[in-house]
């Protein structure tokens, strides 16, 4: 019984931390804010580990609506996501202590970061649809201040866009929730109240009209939940909102908040309607098509993007849809790939965004073109970046390879017509594009083209004036210009990030490699989840 109470406590602890920071006593110095934040994130981390070790427990807090309680359950899926969340929160919080030196209002950042952690814990451990929805909305409310943290025009408009997309998506989700409840199995079967059940809780004797209605509802629900994940057509906010946040927040937004959308999708597809209901319907194909389209579009746009953090955001659009592809194939092997890719992408994307943050913090460079030779002045950071890039492309022995292997192999094993061939093809094209936008950056960072004097590229007359005008334009628009880094200038000033920033980077980079080498540590856990579902 006491074990079950630990679950709501994981939500409560970060919430208390946030409340503590709101009181004047704890906001006197930056130091005390950091101590409180660090302590509460660590405490949450320990609690989650405790919950994970106690095994599956459930607890009903109070009735929110008649027959619909706020209900927590620590099943294997919940623990999977919760452990991932707290681990990423730890690294990102550690990173933020140094990074936030160059942002204002660190207290506010920490408050909302803790609130967001509380909401995420709620989403992870929620045991029925309404509880998930409740914390899902809380998560939106707690994270949009992180997006608008810098309070520039751009970030505020991005924050509001994020808010509207999320609320609209969540409301589509809510309508779906009503449908699911009205088609749920009789009370006597589910034992009182409706909660998640592996394989779904939908009545098995639906008439054709009813099942059509349910299919339509679930389709729109999944489209709506796709807004958090960044699935086409509700992906528009993501490349706008993720880059404008402070780097540690971008990392969490891209690495973890999107994953909560995926968790909700898993809860709907595998634990509410059940995979058997959707398999072979038009909804499955439509969703698969949309997810594949997003995979392709995302990598294409990332490839063309010039700003580093935006490039990473587009990459998120594409990579999270890998997971959705894996889920919508509705087959065990592909779902295994999806579950693994959740973790691997989260680690990798956190790493990449933190690298971007470290570069911005140390040098102020934001564009891809300005990164040439950056590896010479920040070697460790850029080595971590390279490892992350390799993992995201999916080159063995890095972690991305494992998940993509399962995805492609799983797709070929399903009976989804042309889709089963299309999936591996798109995956490979997207991987190539990923290599194009990340690995080229990594190589540019280390291998600087030596330019000797007198060998400057010739400038044709006529075009020269134009480029001057362009330069003037750039200066007028207030953009900073950076010197090109050469081997000589790199000798003079190494600007390696401080330990506070480097430790998270190195840990995450080691993680990508470690899980790539020993994926069986994770696959056993996922196999248990999938065995219960399929």
């Amino acid at each position: 019984m006491i074990g079950a109470w630990l679950i709501p406590v994981t939500v409560l602890v970060p919430l208390l931390g946030a409340i503590l920071l709101m009181t004047p006593a704890y906001r006197r110095s930056v130091r005390s804010v950091r101590v409180v934040t660090g302590a509460f994130v660590t405490a949450t981390c320990l609690l989650v580990v405790g919950v994970a070790m106690l095994g599956e427990k459930e607890i009903e807090l109070f009735e929110l609506l008649p027959d619909i309680p706020v209900f927590f359950r620590s099943d294997k899926t919940a623990v999977w996501f919760a452990v991932l969340t707290v681990a990423m929160w730890m690294t990102s919080t550690l990173f933020s202590f140094e990074y936030m030196n160059h942002e204002k209002r660190e207290t506010r950042y920490c408050i909302f970061s803790l609130l967001a952690l509380a909401a995420l814990m709620g989403v992870c451990f929620s045991g029925n649809l309404v509880t998930t929805y409740l914390f899902y909305e809380m998560m939106t409310l707690a994270t949009f201040p992180l997006v608008m943290h810098e309070q520039t025009k751009e970030s505020i408009s991005a924050g509001i866009t994020y808010l509207y997309y999320s609320l609209a998506g969540a409301f589509l989700g809510l309508i779906g929730v009503f449908f699911l409840y009205s088609f749920a199995e009789e009370r006597s079967v589910t034992g009182g109240v409706i909660s998640y059940a592996a394989g779904g809780f939908i009545r098995s004797d639906l008439s054709s009209n009813e099942s059509l209605a349910l299919t339509i509802a679930v389709f729109f629900m999944l489209i709506g939940l796709g807004s958090k994940v960044g699935m086409y057509p509700l992906h528009g906010w993501l490349p706008k909102a993720h880059p404008v946040a402070p780097a540690p927040a971008s990392a969490l937004l891209s690495g973890n908040i999107t994953k909560m959308g995926i968790l909700f999708v898993i809860r709907v597809v595998f634990f509410s309607v059940g995979p058997d209901f959707l398999r072979g319907t038009w909804a499955q194909y439509a969703l698969l098509g949309l997810a594949l389209l997003t995979v392709f579009l995302g990598s294409m746009l990332a490839f063309r993007e010039k700003v580093f953090k935006k490039r990473l955001a587009y990459s998120t659009v594409s990579q999270t849809s890998y997971v959705l592809v894996g889920l919508y194939l509705l087959a065990p092997v592909a779902a295994m790939g999806a579950f693994l890719h959740v973790v691997f992408h989260s680690i990798t994307k956190n790493l990449l965004f933190l690298v971007a943050g470290a570069i911005i913090y140390k040098t102020g460079r934001t564009k891809v073109a300005q990164m040439k030779g950056i590896g010479l002045i920040m070697p460790v950071t850029m080595i971590c970046f390279t490892l992350g890039g390799l993992a995201l492309v999916g080159i063995p022995p890095f972690s991305g390879f494992v998940s993509k292997w399962y995805l492609a192999a799983g797709a070929l094993k399903t009976e989804t017509g042309p889709m089963r061939f299309l999936v591996p093809v798109i995956l490979i094209i997207s991987a190539l594009l990923t290599a194009g936008y990340l690995i080229t950056m990594a190589s540019d960072a280390f291998f600087v083209v030596e330019e000797h004097e007198g060998h400057e590229p010739e400038v044709k007359t006529g075009e020269g004036q134009e480029s001057d005008a362009e330069k003037a334009d750039e200066q007028e628009s207030g953009e900073e210009t950076f010197d090109v880094i050469t081997a000589d200038s790199a000798e003079k000033g190494k600007k390696e990030a401080s330990p506070f920033m480097l430790i998270p980077l190195v840990v995450l980079a080691a993680g990508t490699l470690f899980f790539g080498l020993f994926p069986s540590l994770l696959t056993d856990w996922v196999t248990q989840i999938l065995n219960s579902v399929f």
Binding site: L64, L65, R105, Y133, G159, L163, Y164, L172, I175, F178
Partner: protein, 498 residues
Amino acid sequence: MDFVRNFPFFSILLPMISGPISSVMSGKRAKRLNFAVVTVSGLLSVAAFVYVLYTGEAYNYRMGAFPAPFGNEIRVGLLETMMASFFCFVMLLSIVGGYRFTVVDIPAEKQNLFYIMMNLLLSSLLALIYTNDMFTGYVFIEINTIAACGLIMIRGWGRNLLAATKYMIMSLLGSGLVLISLSILYGITGHLLMEPMHEAIVQIIEQRTYSEPLTVAVGLFCVGIAIKSALFPFHSWLPDAYGYSTCASSAILSSLVSKGYIFLLIKFFYRVIGMDIIHTIQVDDVLFVFGIAGMVFGSISAIQQTDVSRMIAFSSVAQIGYIYMGFGLNTEAGMIASIFHILAHAAGKSMLFISLNSLSDGTWEYANYRKLRGSAYRHRIASLGFAIGSLSMVGIPLLAGFTSKVYYAKAAFGVGSSPKMLIALVALAISTILNAMYFIGQLINIYTPIVTEPEPGTVKHSNVTRVAVFMFIAVNFVLGMGSEPVFRWIQTGLAQFM
């Protein structure tokens, strides 16, 4: 124990008598009297509520024990007593929360006038809730109108006088229609008490005589009440009346006055006409259409406002649309959702007005969108109230607004396979997004940190206001998280109507 049966009657009579008494008192004393009267009326209503809950059945109370043609009847059921208690509670908090502004806004010699109006308003609201006699209902509609009119114009600015005139004209039109409708109904049924009227109407429907006059009468009644409760498109009087009055007036007008009329309409539907007959003559479809239109257009108008108090006022139009939409669904679930929404809206809207007035220091110049920027840092409790109220209106879980939206959605599902279900769901979705657009935008605005200008400083922030806002926040959370007993009470109350 049976003495409690008299309490509802006392709770109407007490404010009615204390109104005239206030006229010979100074402002301060009138305030104390009013405070005491509202509290006592509230306690009496609560006692009656507990009594009805305990005995489990409603009763008719004859004043002076005279039988029907001469005497007058009120009806005391679970729903009535619950509403009365809640109304008294909200009124008390609004008066307390707006007290600071009442002192500043209203000239000293007119202070007692304000409390006369408050007492009369309370009396008429309670009478509208309890009445079992349609003509008494009409009489108190008029009293309510006059009291409300006084509350609108008591601030004495040009804008208020204009708003009060508008309100007067529209309201009199509304009550005129109600009166005509009642005369027709009296003509064809020969009764004014609800039960005999209902029996006569059932007979009329069976014999298929007078069915046209009946339809006309019901239509007129609905239109009359719709005008008075500002259903779209009869809402033109509302933004000025709510937006520019003094704090307590705005809070009470927006949360209670229109709801009193709506409650009478519910009783009219259930106890006089009968919901099945309402369905036969298709009044529900008409209300449904206008309710949906109100939900959408009210919010669209709210988005266009630069004056935040007008914005909140327009949001009331949308919320009234919700309530009528619930009537339009014509199911028990829809009606329960609407009654719950009356509570949720009252708790949220009065808090919004009080918080806004605290943020803007009670002046309409400072209620402007730009002037409010960063005001959250001047008055933290009020801004918290504003935030909770806004989020409740948008429909964020744990708050009252979300719960009522869930009830609406459930009710929409209960309609079964009819286009109403889809329309209602889509309208709910659109309205949620629109609500989010202006409320969340406003929240961001007031929480934007700027270099603080010197405070306007006409009104000192008081602990009393803070307490009131805190109480409102608590009510919002209670309604949002513990709606189950309220739901059951409403259900039983409606069952007692039959």
